[in-house]
Each structure stands twice: as structure tokens, then as C-alpha cells.
């Protein structure tokens, strides 16, 4: 027993070890002071630098007067036709008895109410999307000319629109912990983009990958060019709706239509590249690999085209525009993430450290 106690006594005993902190740089400890100089003359402030103008909102394209009149006429005719028809239907129902008449009235009221609700829902989601686009335009201005209040508004609206789940809420909490009042607008946007939007980007890229794989398979087995096109369009619409949903937009009909319209405009800019790619494909198909290679090459081309559309759709739906070093490439979207998944960038921590 005493041997045991002796052995315990030999061991390390509880103690407090004082750790010397890192030496404070002497410059931090320098006291304020005024230093006389021999320079004379008044301070002449530098001439103000002309900042790049704030991007004005793109002018809205309006229909011509004749077209507006035409649309208004069509709408009046349609609503009038529905109204008269409903009235006649209710009136004829009353011919069978008051109960039937009131039932018909209730049915029409329910129908009108339901249609109103659906319209309001569609309209709300469409307005939400346009407000996201307005935020995108605000954020796209050079960071040095974004007023802090505008930036705060923009960040709040971005956080409001993103879907809330466990991963995104953790990302938002991490962003709010990291961002500080003295971070510049550019730093705040970079933190937002890297901390909060990165998980959504990964999900969107996965959608693009799936759609591209679908496009590859369908083009390979589709018998005619017409079915090729039909299947491709269906795949593209589905992908756009999924990407919109991924970034928090409700993919209703007007939202999808608006996105597809913008996608066509943006996609049109890629026309020249597509032409070159198509001629390259035909060249391979015709000269080198004959028929077998032709199918494979066209499938590859469809895959690449779908991926590119997906990336454009991501850019349209993402509340914060991609920064130059964040734009996902086609290869990284198709295969890159298979390898880089699980190696998160620590860039946001570096930014947060700069502010400390």
C-alpha cells in the first residue's frame, strides 16, 4: 500500500503553468504624438476621382401601343366570355330551382377564388424573382460604390430568398458570425458568396450533371433529330426549374417562362461558339470516325450544350453574381466535383481573419 502511494507521489502533481503570450509588436504600444516637420504650404486636396457610373436599371422593353391594345382587347374578350358564360350557366341553374342555382353560384365563386389564389401565387413568385434580379444588379456594381445601407438591404434580401434547411442555416449562421462592420463591401460580398451560396452552388452543379447525363443518354438512343430536339428541350426545362428551386425560387409557370426567355437571350450569345463546335463535331463524324463516332460525338455535344445551359441558368438564378474566380467551368460541373467534393475552401476564414 505504501509502495503504491510512493509511486503516485512520484508522478506529476496538479499545478498552474504560466504561459508567456506572444510578444506584442512594439509599434502597437507607441503612444500618440505630434511630430514637427519643416514642410510648409497648405494642404491641397487631390482632385476627386470620377467613379464608374452606377449601372442604371436596364430600360424595360415595352410593347408597342397597337400590341398593348390588342392584348387588352383579347383579355377583355376572354374575361367577358367567361363572365357571360358563367352568368348564363348560373341563370340556367336557377331555372331548375333555387338550391341548384345557389350551388352553381357557389361553384363559380369557388372557381373564381381558386383561380385568383393561383394567379396571386404565380404572380408573387414572379415578383420575388424579379426582386432577386434587382438585387443582382445592385450587387453587380463595383463594390467600392455600393453604399453600405444598399449592401445591407441586398444581403438581407439574399438571405431571405434562400431555402432554409439544416445546411443552409448553418452556412448563414457561419456568415453572420464572420462578417463584421468594418469589412468592406467587397469582403462582405465575398464572404456571402463563399460561405452561404457555396452549398447551393454544389447542389445546382449536381442538377446540371444529372441533366447533362440525361441529355447524353437521350441523344444517343433517340431515333430522329426531331425527337432529339424535343427530349433536349424537355430536359432543359426540367433542369431550369430544378435550378430555380435550388436557389429558392418557386418554379411556377411565369417564373419558368421568364427564366427560359432570359436563358434564350443569354444562350444566343453562345451561338458563335456552338457553330464552331457543331462544325468540329461534323468534321470528326464525317472524316475520322464515320457513323459510330458521329452518334457519340453528337451525344457529347448535347451533353456539353446542356451543361452550358445549366451554368447560364445558375448564373440567372443565383442571387449574388458569380465572382470571376467562382464561375464554375463545364468540366468542373460535369466531372470536377466528383473529385473536389469534401475539400471545402478555407478562403472565407482567411477573409474573416483579415478583419480581426
Amino acid at each position: 500500500m505504501s509502495d503504491q502511494r510512493n509511486r503516485d507521489d512520484d508522478g506529476p502533481r496538479p499545478r498552474v503553468v504560466t504561459i508567456e503570450g506572444p510578444p506584442v509588436p512594439e509599434a502597437e504600444g507607441l503612444a500618440p504624438r505630434v511630430i514637427a516637420t519643416t514642410q510648409t504650404g497648405r494642404i491641397v486636396p487631390a482632385a476627386p476621382v470620377a467613379l464608374p457610373p452606377r449601372p442604371a436599371a436596364a430600360p424595360r422593353r415595352r410593347m408597342s401601343g397597337v400590341a398593348r391594345l390588342g392584348v387588352a382587347g383579347l383579355a377583355t374578350a376572354f374575361v367577358g366570355w367567361l363572365g357571360v358564360d358563367a352568368y348564363q350557366w348560373i341563370a340556367s341553374a336557377f331555372d331548375y330551382g333555387a338550391t341548384v342555382g345557389w350551388l352553381a353560384t357557389a361553384a363559380v365563386a369557388a372557381g373564381v377564388g381558386g383561380a385568383g389564389l393561383i394567379t396571386a401565387r404565380e404572380l408573387r413568385s414572379f415578383l420575388a424573382l424579379t426582386s432577386v434580379e434587382a438585387t443582382q444588379r445592385r450587387i453587380a456594381a463595383p463594390a467600392e460604390i455600393i453604399p453600405p445601407s444598399d449592401l445591407q438591404d441586398a444581403i438581407r434580401s439574399v438571405l431571405a430568398v434562400l431555402p432554409k434547411d439544416r445546411e443552409s442555416e448553418a452556412a448563414i449562421a457561419a456568415f453572420q458570425r464572420k462578417v463584421r462592420g468594418h469589412h468592406s463591401p467587397a469582403q462582405q460580398l465575398e464572404l456571402l458568396s463563399r460561405s452561404v451560396l457555396a452549398p447551393f452552388d454544389r447542389r445546382a452543379e449536381a442538377i446540371v450533371r444529372r441533366a447533362s447525363a440525361r441529355a447524353f443518354g437521350i441523344t444517343a438512343i433517340s431515333p430522329t433529330a426531331v425527337t432529339d430536339a424535343l427530349f433536349f428541350i424537355a430536359c432543359a426545362v426540367r433542369m431550369v426549374r430544378e435550378i430555380a428551386g435550388c436557389y429558392g425560387h418557386r418554379p411556377t409557370v411565369p417564373v419558368t417562362a421568364h427564366l427560359l426567355r432570359r436563358l434564350m437571350v443569354e444562350g444566343g450569345k453562345l451561338g458563335a461558339i456552338d457553330l464552331a463546335a457543331a462544325s468540329f463535331t461534323q468534321h470528326i463524324a464525317g472524316a475520322v470516325a464515320e457513323r459510330v463516332a458521329a452518334n457519340a460525338a453528337e451525344s457529347m455535344y448535347a451533353t456539353q450544350r446542356m451543361a452550358r445551359l445549366g451554368l447560364v441558368a445558375m448564373e440567372l438564378c443565383r442571387p449574388v453574381p458569380f465572382r470571376p474566380d467562382e464561375v464554375p467551368g463545364i468540366m468542373s460541373s460535369l466531372v470536377g466535383n466528383l473529385f473536389v467534393r469534401g475539400t471545402p475552401s478555407n478562403r472565407d476564414e482567411q477573409i474573416a481573419d483579415q478583419g480581426r
Binding site: A27, A31, I35, T37, T40, I43, A50, R54, H182
Partner: protein, 476 residues
């Protein structure tokens, strides 16, 4: 709030915006700040830069109405029938331009109104374009007054006994206890229930006033009430000013009639009703926006007690205004409501560019509690660092073998320039043991070369950003 409620609010705001635009709206900006925070220079620079914006838009690019090229012109409004004295904008600018000196200290009330003519945007702009000239006018009204008067505002909610107890508690701590030794001894010798005496009251007033003046001039303290005691004429022949705090036990609600305490209380109440309340009722009506200017750098360099004192003063000022619901101002004025507040750390040009954001962060930290109060009343609040006039340039200097960032300027009255090394500006108040010795000799650099005509404006830091936050929404 429901969607319908939001829509209603938006619609009524839009309607009121339309009505204001149609009639020519007026916004009253409360430029709030303690003495020497830079209110007069802020108003002068703001007026000069607005007037110059037509010729030199690059001075105010972050004021959206200027940055977007929608400003038609800004001009000083004409005199009203029953005006306050006019703010001496022209004299101030000429003094800065010609004599390279700052405007004289504000000793009385004055007012300036600037008409800003601009092209509105959106639906309102479209409608105005269709039915009229397409332009709207916003009148910006600003009142200048001595900063000391502001600290009288919290007195309105206090009784004499409450004020006496709080003030003497403060006087018995730190620097005040040292410089107020004579006053405190006098107070201990003269109880509140002693027989009323004109001589004793006047002597107490003089000793208390001496304490306040020394605290301000020698120790840079700022939570000094009543504010008018700091003016030279406060020692004059106005008997209602002859009062001072007395030792009144907690159990005593009101001093008994005929006592020294009762005499002091009577004068305190007269001061509140005749001076403070009438001042705010007459001139602080209809403020809807507020900028609170704080010389946080001066407070930081003056040491822990001065910093703490500034914090107390800011809290007292912000707690005195009520933002959106009843409070002193609301009770007095029935209807005034401030819905946007900007806390601005002034003299940012005395700090090298690298550390300017720290000033704003430090102020945000200092005013965190009253800011919560403001925000909880549905008012928007933000913090920035600004310099109404840039009077320095950035430079470097080797000190004790270290290359450090400094600012260079020419002190007022000096022939040569001087470099000012400010040390490290922390983003939060230093810990108790980290405070250095008070540094009270912050140089007063002369203004830069300025064109007195409203052609080129005045170089500033974030003045346009501040103005855009404060009234930018009314210029859309």
C-alpha cells in the same frame, strides 16, 4: 405584418411621397453632437458640397441623386418671414478659404435651408414628367445650435432631487472628485434643509460652474449638465441660473418650502420650462432624420474617463429622443418622429486610411445599447466614420525604428506642417489595463485650400454616403 398590411403601408407611403413631391417636401435634419464634435463644419461642408455638386459631381458620387446625374441644382432657400438667424454659411466658407481657420464656435441658434431640385425616378418621376416639368424639389432644413445645450434635454424627465443625486454621485468619482473638491466641500457644509439664501445659492452655482468648465477644458469631459452653465454669460445676472446640485437623501422627494433645496428646485424647474422646453418646442419640431456626430477619436485619446463620459452623454442624448413612439420630444411636440439615425465618428481625416473603419466600429460598440433602443422603435440606424473637411494627407514616419502610418497637416496658426501619429485605434473600447495616458493635444489642422465659390466643393470623407443614407430615399 401581412402582405395586405405591407401593401397598404407601401401604398400610403407612395401616396404621401406623391403629395410631398407635388407640393415640394421639406425634411428637417437634426444635426446632433456634443460641443466640438464638428456640427458647424458638417453643415457648412454639406451646404457647400451640395451647392457645388452641379459643377463638380465627383465630390459627391455616392449621393445617388448626384451619382446618377439626376440633380438639377441645389440652392440656398430664400429668407422666411419669421426666421431664425441665418446660418453663416458664406462667412464660414470665406473664413476657411481666406484665413485658413475654422468657423467660430456656435454660440446661438441659426438655421439654413437648401432647396434640392432633382429628377425623381420610377412611377413618380414618370407621372411628374407627364404632367409637369419632370422635376421635384426637396427642402433640406438644418438648425445649428451650441452642442452643450443638447445635454439639457435629459433634464426634462428628471426632478431636481433626482438630478442632484445623480450629479453628485458622478462628481464624487474620478477626475471630477479632484477638480470639484471645493464645490463638494461647500455642498457638505450647506444642507438642503438650511434656510434659503441668495448668497449661498450663487456661490454654489459659481463653484459648480467652475467644476464644469474645468472638466471640459482641462480634462475633455463631456457629460456636463446643465449645458448653458458652460457659456460665459451663465455667470451673469440671470438669477434663475443660480442653482447647483445639493445633497438630497433618497427619502426626500421634494425639499421643504423655504429651504435652500426648495429655492434651488424652483430655479431648476424654471430653467427647464423657460429655457430647455421652449428651445426644443420652438426649434426641434418635425425632425425626421438625425445625424449624431461624435468626436470619438478625441474621446479615445483623452483617456478612459473621457471616453466613458462621452458614452454616457451619447446614451443620454439618444435616450432622450424617442423614435416613433412617445418620449420627451414627442410629448413636447406632439408628432415629431425620427425614423432614420446615423451615428457618425467625425474627424476621420486625423486617422490614417487603414484605421478609419476602426473609428466606426468603435462608435458602433460604444453606442450599442442606445442603438438597440432606437432600432426597437422601428427607426433605422447606421454607423459611419466621416470627415466633413479633409485637412490632412496620409504619410509615413519612422518612430523608434518602426515605420508607421501618420497624417500630415498644418496646425492652425503654424507656418510649418506637423505629422500626427494617432497610435492604434481599436475596434472596441480597450480593456481597463490597456488604456494609455490621456493625450489631450490633438492638433487642430487648418482647412485645406478651398474655393469659396460653389464650384469645386470641399474634399471630405463619406459625407456623400452619410447624406445618401439620411435623405437619399427622399431624392428618389
Amino acid at each position: 405584418m401581412s402582405q395586405i398590411g405591407l401593401a397598404e403601408t407601401g401604398f400610403s407611403e407612395w401616396l404621401s411621397g406623391m403629395a410631398e413631391l407635388a407640393t415640394g417636401a421639406t425634411v428637417s435634419l437634426a444635426v446632433t453632437g456634443l460641443s466640438r464634435a464638428g456640427k458647424t463644419v458638417f453643415i457648412t461642408s454639406l451646404a457647400h458640397n451640395l451647392l457645388s455638386a452641379l459643377h463638380q459631381p465627383h465630390r459627391m458620387p455616392l449621393l445617388q441623386v448626384v451619382g446618377e446625374g439626376r440633380l438639377i441644382a441645389a440652392r440656398l432657400a430664400g429668407r422666411k418671414a419669421d426666421p431664425l438667424p441665418r446660418f453663416p454659411y458664406r462667412q464660414n466658407i470665406e473664413r476657411m478659404a481666406m484665413t485658413a481657420d475654422w468657423p467660430a464656435r456656435t454660440r446661438n441658434l441659426s438655421e439654413i435651408e437648401i432647396d434640392i431640385r432633382f429628377a425623381p425616378t420610377g412611377v413618380v418621376g414618370f407621372l411628374l414628367g407627364q404632367i409637369g416639368s419632370g422635376a421635384a424639389t426637396l427642402r433640406l432644413r438644418i438648425v445649428d445650435y451650441p452642442g452643450e445645450w443638447l445635454l439639457d434635454l435629459p433634464l426634462l424627465t428628471q426632478s431636481y432631487a433626482e438630478w442632484s443625486r445623480a450629479t453628485l454621485q458622478l462628481c464624487r468619482r474620478g477626475t471630477r472628485a479632484e477638480i470639484g473638491r471645493d464645490f463638494l466641500a461647500f455642498v457638505s457644509d450647506h444642507r438642503h434643509d438650511a434656510v434659503a439664501s441668495e448668497e449661498v445659492a450663487r456661490r454654489a452655482h459659481e463653484l459648480y460652474r467652475g467644476l464644469l468648465v474645468t472638466a471640459r477644458d482641462a480634462h475633455a469631459l463631456s457629460f456636463l449638465q446643465p449645458g448653458r452653465f458652460l457659456e460665459a454669460e451663465a455667470s451673469g445676472e440671470a438669477p434663475y441660473l443660480w442653482f447647483a446640485p445639493l445633497d438630497i437623501p433618497d427619502a426626500v422627494e421634494r425639499p421643504a418650502d423655504g429651504t435652500l433645496g426648495a429655492m434651488m428646485e424652483q430655479r431648476f424647474e424654471a430653467y427647464k420650462s423657460e429655457v430647455v422646453a421652449s428651445f426644443y418646442e420652438r426649434h426641434f419640431r418635425n425632425f425626421s432624420r438625425q445625424v449624431v456626430l461624435v468626436d470619438i477619436l478625441g474621446a479615445l485619446l483623452a483617456g478612459r474617463e473621457a471616453f466613458e463620459d462621452t458614452r454616457l452623454a451619447i446614451e443620454a442624448i439618444l435616450e432622450s429622443y424617442r423614435y416613433g413612439r412617445g418620449g420627451i420630444i414627442m410629448r413636447l411636440l406632439r408628432g415629431a418622429r425620427i425614423d432614420k439615425v446615423l451615428l457618425a465618428a467625425t474627424k476621420a481625416d486625423h486617422v490614417p486610411e487603414m484605421q478609419r473603419d476602426h473609428l466606426a466600429a468603435l462608435l458602433r460598440n460604444m453606442a450599442a445599447l442606445p442603438a438597440l433602443d432606437v432600432a426597437s422603435h422601428d427607426a433605422a440606424i447606421d454607423v459611419t466614420a466621416l470627415a466633413s473637411v479633409v485637412s490632412t494627407e496620409d504619410d509615413t514616419q519612422e518612430i523608434d525604428g518602426h515605420r508607421v502610418q501618420v497624417v500630415v497637416g498644418r496646425p492652425v496658426g503654424s507656418a510649418t506642417k506637423a505629422k500626427f501619429f494617432v497610435g492604434t485605434v481599436p475596434i472596441r473600447p480597450p480593456r481597463a489595463e490597456a488604456w494609455g495616458r490621456p493625450f489631450l493635444n490633438v492638433p487642430v489642422f487648418e482647412p485645406p485650400a478651398i474655393d469659396a465659390s460653389p464650384i469645386d466643393g470641399i474634399a471630405h470623407i463619406n459625407l456623400d454616403l452619410a447624406l445618401d443614407y439620411l435623405i437619399g430615399d427622399l431624392l428618389r
